[in-house]
Symmetry: C2
Subunit: 433 residues, 2 copies
């Protein structure tokens, strides 16, 4: 196996032998294949793609570059959910305890926010005391504990380290935007969790990485195929990210909204998507086929998911009293309105701008080493389809003095208006799998 020959074959549009791919990735993981060959290969893949057999081998080699959790000794199905990222997407917070309360085991490894998107770990860490840096042993013990059945942790250095290196390389070589490479990067990390089933929430629209339904569908189909070939039951929903999900954008603010959902309250879109994703997970886990959404709804409305979240917060060092008294969460010192410049119907939102507006306040990161302020963020008062009058608040800015001008500049470009009523897109656009 000569790396340059494999690059040439991919460049010419030929499929690579799966064994050659395994050898190449293993060589990269050992540091024998240098970055300059991997970046050239990644660019060739950007132009030529990867066929299903190539992609399976690529993903498998990436996940085998590190530790793979073995949860096979635990009874019952192990199921996780992954979102491709958006603005206001706090679904994991109510979803994970809900599904665990329904009886599945959920070994959930999450990420941090960057750019316009938030991250589940950052949101969880806005709960006072909450630790996401669990050891593998502790994480597995929580998933094994029948009173918890849930661990909420960050990716360790041991999970798919070659993927981590390749991702950093892609970031500086303009090879991030490749659907097979995105798909294999996500799936290599998820399959390393030792799960039996995976529900993918593939976001589509102005706040998502996939701006078009066609791209999102291709990503969804690619990941579902990787999962299928790896023996992990995988389903993907294409869901709308042409507007923020729910009303809150910002870490403690999103925890508040999640608590509302766990109390059977909160915005209809967040509740609906939580129940739908829970139902998909329950079906993959072999529970409640046909009546899965009923089981999810009754578990949520009965308070079992809220109680489960309390136990998990406590297990991970956090203060469960926030669930009863959300005012224990960090609050920004200032709240100012951002008002509509005209009357009309909200026709569309540049949703990534909303995410960047929140980032400017300190709710997110422009660079990976930026420090987050859990208290700040945005409360969205008018979304696609809403009628507003001139001067009526479009958003409330929860800030601490930082980045307010930049935030306003992004928000000024975030809403577009029409004179006639506008119907928002359906929340769940399609299901793949």
């Amino acid at each position: 196996m000569r790396a340059a020959e494999l690059i040439a074959r991919k460049r010419n549009g030929d499929a690579l032998d799966p064994d050659d791919i395994r050898a190449l990735i293993a060589g990269y993981a050992r540091g024998e294949v240098p970055d300059y060959q991997m970046s050239a290969l990644a660019m060739a893949v950007y132009f030529r793609g990867l066929e299903p057999a190539e992609l399976s081998a690529w993903t498998d080699a990436m996940l085998r570059s590190g530790d793979v959790l073995d949860l096979s000794h635990l009874s019952g199905a192990k199921v996780d959910k992954h979102s491709t990222g958006g603005v206001g997407d706090k679904i994991s917070l109510p979803l994970a305890p809900l599904v665990a309360a329904c009886g599945l085991r959920v070994p959930m490894v999450s990420g941090r926010g960057l750019g316009h998107t938030g991250g589940t770990l950052d949101k969880l860490e806005s709960i006072p005391g909450f630790r996401t840096d669990l050891s593998v042993e502790r994480f597995v013990a929580q998933v094994a504990d029948d009173d918890l059945r849930l661990g909420l942790a960050g990716q360790t250095e041991e999970i798919a380290p070659a993927d981590k290196r390749l991702y950093a390389l892609r970031d500086v070589t303009a090879t991030v935007e490749s659907i097979p490479l995105i798909a294999s990067s996500i799936m290599s990390k998820k399959l390393a969790e030792g799960i039996d089933g995976l529900v993918l929430d593939v976001k589509v629209g102005s706040g998502a990485f996939m701006k078009t339904e066609a791209d999102a569908r291709r990503l969804a189909e690619t990941m579902v195929e990787i999962g299928r070939r790896a023996g992990c039951a995988t389903v993907a929903l294409l869901t709308d990210m042409s507007r923020p999900l729910g009303r809150m954008v910002g870490n403690a603010l999103e925890v508040r909204e999640s608590i509302d959902i766990l109390r059977g309250e909160g915005p209809a879109d967040v509740r609906a998507l939580t129940l739908r994703l829970a139902a998909e997970m329950l079906m993959l886990g072999g529970l409640a086929r046909g009546v899965a959404e009923d089981l999810a709804r009754s578990t949520l409305d009965g308070g079992a998911a809220l109680k489960r979240f309390a136990r998990v917060i406590e297990a991970q060092g956090g203060d469960p009293a926030v669930l009863e008294d959300p005012d224990r969460l960090a609050k920004a010192p200032h709240v100012v309105d951002f008002v509509a410049p005209r009357a009309g119907h909200v026709a569309g939102m540049h949703t990534a701008r909303v995410g960047l507006a929140a980032m400017c306040l300190g709710a997110g990161r422009a660079r990976t080493d930026d420090v987050i302020d859990p208290a700040v963020g945005l409360e969205i008062c008018a979304t696609v389809g809403d009628r507003v009058e001139k001067g009526q608040p479009l958003a409330r800015i929860h800030h601490a003095g930082r980045g307010l001008d930049d935030c306003r500049a992004h928000l000024a470009a975030a809403w577009t208006f029409a004179d006639a009523p506008v119907a928002p897109r359906p929340l769940v656009i399609d299901r793949v799998g």
Copy 2:
């Protein structure tokens, strides 16, 4: 200028700003832009190409990464020739002294052989004592000396060092086969010679890097455009490399054939191409417009080119007596025939195989650190269009015991035969410029 953004723009098919290209290449030359970004960019260029303005900036930045000869103080035109490489292409040896004898100055920087192609430096060094490692001062002094007007040297470390690094990187990242990158690599080295005019001999066919006329034409047009934009009058001939040039392949053997040409003898194709290229150089240099080939022919046939070569050999430490007595050149200890397996007309030649056959004997290099045996090589006895009988020699193998089996294996695949007569392609296919 962020390198990753420029890579993304090229990847998306957008043209880069020439100033951004200059900054990027300068950064690469200083070691600030890492190899992994340049290899990704090279792959993006492979797929997207470079527009003329981009290519000019790229080439200019490459040549400015090192020393640029300033020959502007020398009277008269400074003109060079470059061949894209083939099998049996010894044209530089008779051509350079011929053009210098006609009155132009020829600062000729040449390369070494690799793979199936030979190199002018290796051929010159088969003349006993001949040195090609001239200092810049000595090289310029020879070009300035009106009795010589010619220097024959190798590329120093100071000429286009960024191109040298990029070429090595392209070699291991499957990005060699990009016409704009090939064109800029050639032109950055040639334009660093401080020349006023350049004639390019772009080879086409089974022994050339460009296998098709369309590719060769695109390369020729690209280089001519780079030359034009750099203020260097540039002309390209597309010439046939579907068969070896002349009869001899191998270093001392090719020097012998070159001496024959300088004596007004030798194979018709080598003589014709020498005269045609000389005429193009003379016209670029402003000499003998319209009657340039007459001037070249009379200079060659009058013996002035041979005398000039004797002086240059002496100036560069070689033994000029080889011109009178070619038996002073190295001779292989063994000569064996390679005979025709059938009677027929030679319909075609896999010319690269002929080059590889000579390489196996030690006439060329499989790797850059291989050592050449000047004595060995091939004498081609039957070429495209020739009628042969079964058992008649197709080639004579001049060998020293090394690589004979591999040589024969390549030769066995080199000739194809037809029952009907075959007309060879014309030697000069077209002229671009």
